[in-house]
Symmetry: C2
Subunit: 284 residues, 2 copies
């Protein structure tokens, strides 16, 4: 049975897009939104992403089948504590957070045994932020990771996965620890490098930026609070990733010092081949 | 007077696009192409990027007003030596190389005093390679850097700049040393980081790559030989840039260790603001 009354806590790019996508793919569903800024809620109502708006999370979850946490991960703990007493027995709770160990652990601790939590991470969105960028096709063909644990209720897991599937997503299961390790390497570390690369530029070099630099650093324009929360929550994995990149850069420095043309070409062509293999997924 | 007989040495993405753009913007011009592979020359002739093809550079430059070096920078020295005796008196020679100190120095040394060299770097192109990606509008509104020295003939400089302008480019002058420093930071270093980031990924993390990772690493798919030459030629600047990025990453590691949320948010939001300021130039 697909959820009929869905609560979306945080109606920005992701939350708003979930509302738009659910309304176009799930028959007769009702979307309840929560946000602390009235202007955002008005915009979400105006775009038809939600049917009803609340500025208190407790009110927004009452009587809902499915609750989706869509705020920055740093607020999840506080949000889970607030909604716990108001959740209907049997309600499912999931999230769209970019890190999974902490949120899954906290949700399993903070939510009552009468409700079921399933960690989710739909890999969609961009450096853009806000309800104005929400669109119903944001999740089409994108990958959604779920992170069940031994405590996860199998039926709840299947219902949550079916929900993401109804929004057009492909699904894959990982443990919370695997998720945080892989996502650190493929998403959080690239953000850190892009920010470092932008930070060391001078105004003079930035004037000469071409398409390559713009592509390489696009993600660095992302919301600082959101990424601060991700970086802090996943700091052990991010630290390992930074050290791994530093090892690669040390290797490059050595090749430059010794002017080892053959090994340098090997290093570059191995990277080029691996990157080219991804091209079919996200053509330029 | 715009050049009427133009020799393009190396008819790939850039050389082919110059041919197509010149033929559509300069009346009655004739384009002579050189390449060592007959298949490439046939493709260039077939696409109308060149009117005549030679597989020897000496033959391709005879009687030309303007010669544009479009091969990888590592071959420039050998190419300049070969064409020097065959250049018509008064001929202009320029290039599209991504580094400028070495090529300008070698051109001024290797070319006879009867011809004039002007260093150029049209910032256009992509990670794509080859005549099949050439297009006449590649240079429209893009920036072309020229790198005159005290030896540069002022009239030759103006003619070369007018040529790039006729292809739709904006122009800017830098010294060869300034060029190589700025381009290292804004182009060569991003390539090094993208390659390092691709190299440290595992197959498992690569399976989870989203649009952000694809954007961030797109340039790493570029031609390994071309980038090997650029890295070796500009190794002093690239080394400085790698150390500057490492300083930023060291700063980040410290913020993660101390869990300094406020300073981490500042670091991220400063980078986000600088990157956002570029957005109007290369919208995603």
């Amino acid at each position: 049975m697909p959820p009929r009354k869905i609560s979306i806590l945080g109606v920005g790019l992701l939350g708003g897009s979930i509302g738009l996508a659910a309304k176009s793919s799930i028959k007769d569903c009702q979307i309840i939104g929560y946000g602390h800024r009235q202007a955002t809620m008005d915009a979400a109502l105006g775009r038809g992403a939600i049917d009803q708006a609340f500025t208190e999370p407790e009110a927004a979850v009452a009587g809902c089948d499915l609750v989706v946490l869509c705020t920055p991960v740093g607020i999840f703990r506080q949000l889970l504590s607030k909604i716990a007493p108001s959740l209907a027995p049997g309600a499912l709770v999931t999230d769209v957070g970019s890190t999974k160990r902490t949120v899954v652990e906290e949700a399993e601790k903070l939510l009552p045994p009468t409700v079921h939590f399933v960690g989710s991470h739909p890999i969609a969105g961009s450096e853009k932020r806000g309800i104005e960028f929400a669109r119903p096709d944001l999740f089409q063909n994108a990958l959604c990771l779920t992170t069940p644990t031994p405590q996860t209720n199998p039926a709840a897991l299947e219902t949550v996965e079916a929900f993401w599937k109804s929004l057009g997503m492909r699904l894959r299961r990982l443990t919370p620890a695997e998720h945080d390790k892989f996502l650190s390497d493929i998403s959080h570390l690239p953000h850190a490098l892009a920010a470092a690369l932008v930070s060391m530029q001078t105004d003079k070099s930035l004037e000469l930026a071409g398409k390559g630099f713009s592509d390489t650093t696009r993600i660095a324009a992302g919301d600082a609070e959101l990424w601060r929360d991700i970086f802090l929550d996943n700091r052990d994995n991010l630290r390992d990733g930074i050290h791994a990149v530093r090892s690669e850069l040390d290797r490059l420095l050595k090749l430059l010092d010794t002017q080892d043309a053959a090994a340098l070409k090997d290093w570059l062509s191995t990277a080029a081949a691996r990157r080219t293999a991804l091209e079919k997924r996200h053509p330029s």
